[in-house]
Amino acid sequence: MEGFANQVLNTLLAIVVGVGGVVGLFLGMEFLIGFLPDRIQVKIRPWAYVGPLILILSFYLVYPTLNTIRLSFFDARSQNFVGLQNYVWTLTTKTMHVAFRNNLLWLVLLTTFSVGLGLVIAVLVNRVRYESVAKSIIFLPMVISFVGASVIWRFIYAFKPANVPQIGLLNGILTTVGQDPIGWLVDKATNNFSLIAVGIWLQTGFCMIVLSAALKGIPKEIIEAAQVDGASEWHVFRKIMIPMISSTIAVVGTTVVINVLKVFDIVFVLTGGNRDTEVMANRMYKEMFSFLNFGRASAIAVVLLMAIIPVMAVNIRRFQEQEATR
């Protein structure tokens, strides 16, 4: 018990030091600036306000990014220059091909399903009275960690030999209807899809919430006018709703794409990338920590950056447009 009290005390102390430190930093700088003549204060103060930002970003993003690009041209221990060798390895090895294929599979399936399902659910919940409850239930997986979600789904996929009772939900259903249980995460025919299903469960809520907000933004008169003119429900959905929220669909889609390209936790926890489930981010982690090959790990990171840049650029521009019209 005393040990526990000590731990709580340490936690509080660490929080006070961390939070107090940053507040103290800014107040301290402001205090020092106060001693300067007014004319100089005006010139110095902006730099005191943006200074910490510039320092932190230089150290945590700019310097490491440039350094990773440099390291990608060096060997495993970063000692000898090897030219494009790491990139040749990245683009020609079988393991990397599996990783690229899987990232593509994730990209296509997860984006299609989470945006598509999100849209369908957004339209459906709009018509029931318990809309907010239904939305909360579907959104809930968004707030829990990928690790927590992985444990949940590892349990759903749990596999036992055919002659004993199943404890995993999916195999429980299969054996009840007289089928043989499947090793969802082990069987190469199903494991990638099993992982992607976890992603869909996590991401659909996000798509639904954003698309639902966009749908509610469509003026009622437009839809009513179409209905008066005899348009069917499907027609209204296809010819009015979809075109009117197309830019939101694009934002949601690109966001999911970026998340998918960086997917790591689900694969790391559920399969470790074994049995043909490798993805780029997990492979990078392995090259870095298991094989200590910093050249290859850096090259994979650079490839990842190249894949993300165009998508992110589109996303930021779209967001900028939306902010401008608000």
């Binding site: 945590y60 390291l71 459906l124 239904a134 749990a158």
Partner: protein, 286 residues
């Protein structure tokens, strides 16, 4: 009356669809929740859905899994570590970003536009790009395995988005507000803390929620910079290690997973309204 009935009947397919989707979506979590209260042998022998055969037999549930997970398995310590990591890793980036965003929005200095564009440009950098060089520097400086190291790393990764969001918000505040404040003799710090910040509470709140959840749920950053140091491991790290070490001990894994989810769930239910407003903005985080 008959009109109402036809209306109800025609909406029946929609109702059924919504209810079945909700059921499918919640089943995984329900299974986890129920299993976390069942004794080891039960979890191992039968599916969690069998509890519904005797729904009012509460002797089939127990709290022992939670007790073991929190004490013997170290989830209690990990919970405190998660708090120790997440609170400063939320406050520090928001404080740094707020001051900088205010300067970008309302102060004159050379290079203001260029700097802001660079900050926004950094949104594209996936954190994988930074791991190797930073870990090397951390090892040299002795920052790996320390809370300070993780706070600053999360600060670095969260800043571009936070600055971007707050700069847009501060920039949208009316100019007259600040001019009249300065005429009344307010200092820039007063204008910032007494005007800009209070007016931005909704933005700051959704930013804080997202940053907090992001840090709380993070595995990769903790994995890299805290590595194997058990005394400082947050719950995500602990849980992922338990998956490897406890394998089939589902009664413990399910309880541990639920402990790690408790905080995000509490935040979600308490602060739901800030989610929707922040979620679209959150879509551009790097």
């Amino acid at each position: 009356m008959s009109n109402k009935l036809t209306k109800a009947l025609s909406s029946l397919p929609v109702q059924l669809a919504v209810i079945s989707i909700c059921l499918i979506w919640s089943l995984p979590s329900v299974g986890l929740f129920i299993s976390s209260f069942r004794p080891r042998n039960d979890v191992f022998a039968t599916g969690w859905w069998t509890v519904f055969q005797h729904p009012f037999d509460f002797t089939q549930f127990q709290l022992a899994n939670y007790v073991e997970v929190l004490t013997a398995q170290g989830m209690g310590q990990a919970f405190l570590n998660s708090l120790t990591i997440a609170i400063p890793a939320t406050v520090i980036p928001i404080a740094v970003a707020a001051f900088a965003a205010y300067a970008f929005a309302w102060m004159e200095f050379p290079g203001r536009q260029v700097l802001f564009v660079i900050v926004v440009g950094l949104l594209v950098v996936p954190l994988q790009m930074t791991l190797i060089p930073l870990l090397r520097v951390y090892n040299k400086l002795g920052l790996s395995g320390t809370f300070l190291g993780v706070w600053l790393a999360h600060t670095g990764y969260g800043l571009p988005f936070a600055v971007y969001l707050l700069r847009n918000f501060f920039g949208g505040l009316p100019k007259d507000l600040f001019e009249s404040a300065y005429l009344d003799g307010a200092s820039p710090l007063t204008a910032f803390t007494r005007l800009a910040l209070p007016l931005s509470v909704p933005s700051l709140a959704s930013l804080a929620i997202f940053q907090f959840l992001w840090v709380w749920n993070d595995l990769l950053v903790a994995l890299i910079y805290l590595g194997g140091t058990q005394q400082v491991a947050p719950m995500t790290l602990k849980l992922s290690a338990m998956v490897q070490s406890l394998g089939q001990n589902w009664h413990l894994l399910t309880a541990a997973a639920f402990v790690s989810m408790a905080m995000p769930l509490a935040i979600f239910f308490a602060l739901q309204r800030y989610f929707v407003s922040g979620i679209l903005a959150g879509s551009v985080k790097g």
